[in-house]
């Protein structure tokens, strides 16, 4: 019983996992108390630059944190080696189950395509950064550093995933000479001289930015007049944001897969007593319980889809229609998909029907930009809409689409002014928040800020922020 027992059991289970085809980073398990666990959950990393918002989340976690819909905590960090926390107040069998669950996450981190370029040394890097930030706080004062972090966190979800964390600055203004061989029909098009047609001059770097820029923090750290410490802090926030992005867009598939894996492994592991197995079954059913009528547990949804995949591919394999087995297919899916493609490819009509999924809406819609957000205007009467699968998927994915933020791009630098454009038409912007965020950008940029957006009828409106403050044109 106790630590040794748990760790030995997890080691056995890791062997089972390997046989099934899982491929994990080595995992270091730590037994921690509830407080440290809560801290890790609210900071997202064991040591991370301090900020009051983690404190708020810590307090919140203290009241409501949970794994799925049961009161079990687990946390594992995407790192090589992976670090996982087990709560020392959990029973042994729960910690063994958490260990099996962690192996699922670990495989997912190592093999899922979205995580390919993530920083596998983040735990240590973040700790080192936290020390650096502490030093800034010591030298410059908490208020100053904290304010800059507020600014950073206001913009940190506006990333450009495809351009990546590490980017070069745009090319400086220069004329590029392109020469090319005369084409077959060039002589038909030319009028007079022939050689000049083969040389083309192209000016680059004339416009800043050369193309609309999605990565707001990257642009500002590189092109706004900032001090070194400011650049450093914003860059820290930006890099951590890239680190967390794959986690945000794989919540359902990652939790679903890990729950599926822990169930498979625990079912096969035969060194536990009947009582322990019964306790495991209870806790497991809590973790993958459906949730409430209007809020679906991601652990449950993902688990159900993976169970469905395994059944189907096992049958197909039996019939000789597939050369891979169910579990092989499950691992393949876990390696290749994110939440969006996972739901689109594997949440079938039949399964959605079986799970009873439906779309709902509010009869009394909230007024856009309603100043007093009291309950009456926020929630009206909830009405049943339909069971349309595409809409179901869209509604499930919406909160994480574009990292949960509106699409905002920097389109032009015009003199001192920075011009931004809000490009999605799904909704208007919250003006109160917009004002404050534009003020933050104004502080960094040191010149006027202009934001083109639209009202409910999609008519263009322009927000300004200059030394006189916020105004609407």
């Amino acid at each position: 019983m106790g630590r040794e027992y748990v760790l030995n059991a997890i080691a056995d289970i890791e062997e089972l996992a390997k046989q099934k085809g899982l491929d994990c980073f080595p995992t270091i398990f730590e037994f921690v108390d509830r407080d440290l666990m809560l801290e890790a959950c609210s900071y997202g990393l064991p040591a991370r630059a301090r900020h009051w918002s983690y404190g708020r989340s810590y307090q919140h976690q203290k009241l409501y944190g949970e794994m799925g819909f049961s009161k079990v905590y687990e946390i594992v960090f995407n790192n090589n080696p992976a670090y996982a926390f087990l709560m020392n107040t959990n029973t042994d069998i729960v910690n063994i189950m958490v260990g099996a669950h962690v192996l699922g996450h670990n495989h997912f981190f190592k093999n899922n395509v979205m995580f390919k370029n993530t920083d596998r040394n983040m735990i240590f890097r973040a700790a080192e950064r936290a020390r650096r930030v502490d030093k800034y706080i010591e030298d410059l004062g908490l208020d100053k550093v904290e304010h800059l972090m507020d600014v950073g966190f206001a913009l940190h979800h506006h990333i450009d995933w495809h351009k990546g964390v590490f980017r070069k600055k745009y090319p400086k203004k220069s004329v590029i000479k392109n020469t090319y061989k005369p084409g077959e029909f060039d002589d038909l098009l030319k009028f007079g001289k022939s050689k000049e047609r083969c040389v083309k001059y192209r000016t680059i770097g004339e416009k800043l930015p050369p193309h609309p820029e999605k990565d707001l923090l990257w642009f500002l750290t590189n092109y706004a007049p900032l001090e070194d410490w400011e650049k450093d802090i914003l860059e820290i926030i930006r890099e951590e944001s890239y680190y967390f992005y794959p986690i945000a867009i794989t919540k359902i598939i990652n939790e679903g897969y890990s729950s599926f894996i822990h169930a498979e492994l625990m079912n096969e592991y035969d060194k536990i007593s009947e009582e322990e197995f019964l306790e495991f079954a209870k806790v497991h059913s809590g973790v993958v319980s459906p949730g409430q009528k209007f809020s679906i547990n991601p652990y449950y949804l993902g688990f159900k889809i993976f169970t469905d995949i395994k059944e189907k591919w096992d049958k197909m394999h039996e019939r000789g229609e597939s050369n891979i087995t169910g579990i092989q297919k499950v691992i393949q899916v876990a390696n290749e998909e994110d939440d969006a493609s996972f739901l689109r490819n594997y949440l079938t009509k039949e399964l959605a029907r079986k799970l009873g999924l439906f779309n709902y809406g509010y009869k009394h819609k909230r007024k856009p930009n309603d100043e007093n957000k009291n309950i009456e205007s926020k929630y009206g009467i909830i009405e049943f809409k339909d069971r349309d699968l595409n809409k179901i998927i869209e509604n499930i994915l919406r909160p994480t689409f574009n990292y949960g933020v509106p699409l905002i791009q920097i389109v032009e630098v015009d003199g001192d002014s920075l011009i931004l454009r809000h490009t999605d038409t799904t909704d208007t912007l919250d003006v109160k928040y917009c004002t404050k965020t534009m003020e933050y950008i104004y502080e960094l940029w040191g010149g006027n800020i202009e934001l083109h957006t639209h009202d409910n009828e999609l008519n263009e409106i322009v927000y300004y922020f200059d030394e006189g403050g916020f105004s609407i044109l």
């Binding site: 919540k251 679906i296 709902y360």
Partner: protein, 388 residues
């Protein structure tokens, strides 16, 4: 195997950062007192309730969509419904999915609750009844003051004495190494804390008269302003002083002493003769609160649309009141006139009359044009530095 708790050598940050968050909540309240002072949900509360501070003062700001996007979600259940069927009401269906499906959305659930008493403390901590004098009397009013009286090596971080800490630090630095008395590497052993004692200060009796115009021209907006002011004044008097008598007088052409609970529910009608209220206050003072034993305060609110024939009488009564009072305050609510033609036909308001005829340091006037001015008005009346 290493243990994180040791290996990372980081102090536990959760508690420290949540304390910092709590500090920010307080700061946000302070910065938004102007709004909160006129917040209807506070004015109508019973003073014991916890009030919720709107999130918009405390959030991590960012670009955020308006509200439309949350109007659809996914639920689960097998029962057959037709599109448009009502399946739940407000509270029963918590907003779908949001609180579980992502940290970003979850943030919106944070709300801060603060008790009424705490807010009043924050608002009114620097204020006091002006020109309060010690008078010979049987009943005394007392106030509690916190005074820092000593320095200690242990204490709460919020009470760090920066000067002494810096001094200790320099002393230690001077002792070690190069002998330079510089401020650097402040260590726990350098910290010095202030130690406080609660001092009771005794004052003489005080009586505060609340005079409100309830005439026909005091429409809802104006009454709201007057009532907000009196609400905070009443809370202020009760929070800050243990023994203080409050007298509520409402008037149109005649004045009447009313119980407190009726005072805040008063409706409007009739003409305006402000002198009636001042006279009633004067009589009450003369009968019950002789100035040699009492600190008397009269605070009146009106829109200044007084019968012009009555203005003279007002002036003389106020002058009489000043003889028996520590201070007389008059607030005039100067929002769009009830009659709507004040722009073209402007008659002299009571405020103008007062300022022409009364020049007394303890006669305080204020003009309130917007709800936002109430906080300034409170500061103007109660924030006077009069202590020797």
């Amino acid at each position: 195997m290493t243990d994180f708790a040791d290996a990372w050598a980081f102090p536990r940050r959760g508690k420290r950062d949540s304390a910092r968050h709590a500090e920010r909540v307080k700061k946000a309240i302070r910065e938004n007192l102007r709004d909160l002072v006129t917040d209807a949900s506070i004015i109508s509360s019973d003073g014991k309730k916890k009030i919720k501070i709107p999130m918009r003062y405390l959030d991590n700001y960012r670009f955020k969509h308006g509200d439309n996007k949350n109007t659809e979600g996914v639920g689960q259940g097998d029962s057959t419904h037709n599109p448009g069927d009502t399946i739940a009401h407000d509270g029963t269906g918590e907003q779908g999915g949001d609180n579980k499906s992502g940290d970003q959305e979850g943030e919106e659930l944070y709300e801060e609750e603060v008790s009424m008493a705490e807010i009043i403390d924050m608002m009114l901590e620097d204020l006091g009844l002006p020109w309060l004098e010690k008078k010979d009397s049987a009943v005394e009013i007392e106030t509690e003051n916190i005074k820092f009286t000593d320095i200690s090596e242990i204490g709460q971080l919020s009470n760090v004495d920066k000067k002494r800490t810096a001094y200790e630090n320099m002393k230690r630095n001077a002792k070690t190494g190069t002998g330079n008395a510089k401020i650097k590497n402040i260590r726990p052993e350098d910290l010095r804390y202030k130690v406080w004692e609660i001092e009771k200060e005794y004052h003489s009796n005080a009586a505060v008269y609340f005079l409100m115009d309830r005439s026909g021209s005091m429409d809802d907006d104006k009454k709201y302003i007057a009532k907000s002011f009196f609400f905070w004044l009443a809370h202020f008097c009760r929070t800050k002083y243990n023994h203080v008598e409050l007298i509520f007088i409402a008037h149109d052409t005649v004045a009447k002493i009313v119980p407190e609970k009726d005072f805040f529910k008063i409706t409007n009608s009739g003409g305006t003769m402000c002198s009636s209220a001042y006279l009633l206050a004067l009589e009450h003072i003369e009968q019950n609160h002789p100035p040699d034993m009492w600190n008397n305060y009269v605070f009146a609110f009106s829109d200044g649309d007084n019968f012009s024939s009555d203005n003279k009488k007002c002036i003389s009564t106020v002058q009489d009141l000043l003889e028996v009072c520590a201070a007389v305050g008059y607030g005039e609510i100067d929002i769009d006139s009830f009659f709507g033609y004040s722009g073209s036909y402007h008659w002299s308001t009571l405020h103008d009359e007062f300022s022409k005829s009364i020049d007394h340091p303890r006669f305080l006037t204020a003009s309130v044009q917007r709800k936002d001015d109430i906080y300034d008005c409170l500061k103007q009346f109660l924030g006077i530095e009069t202590h020797e």
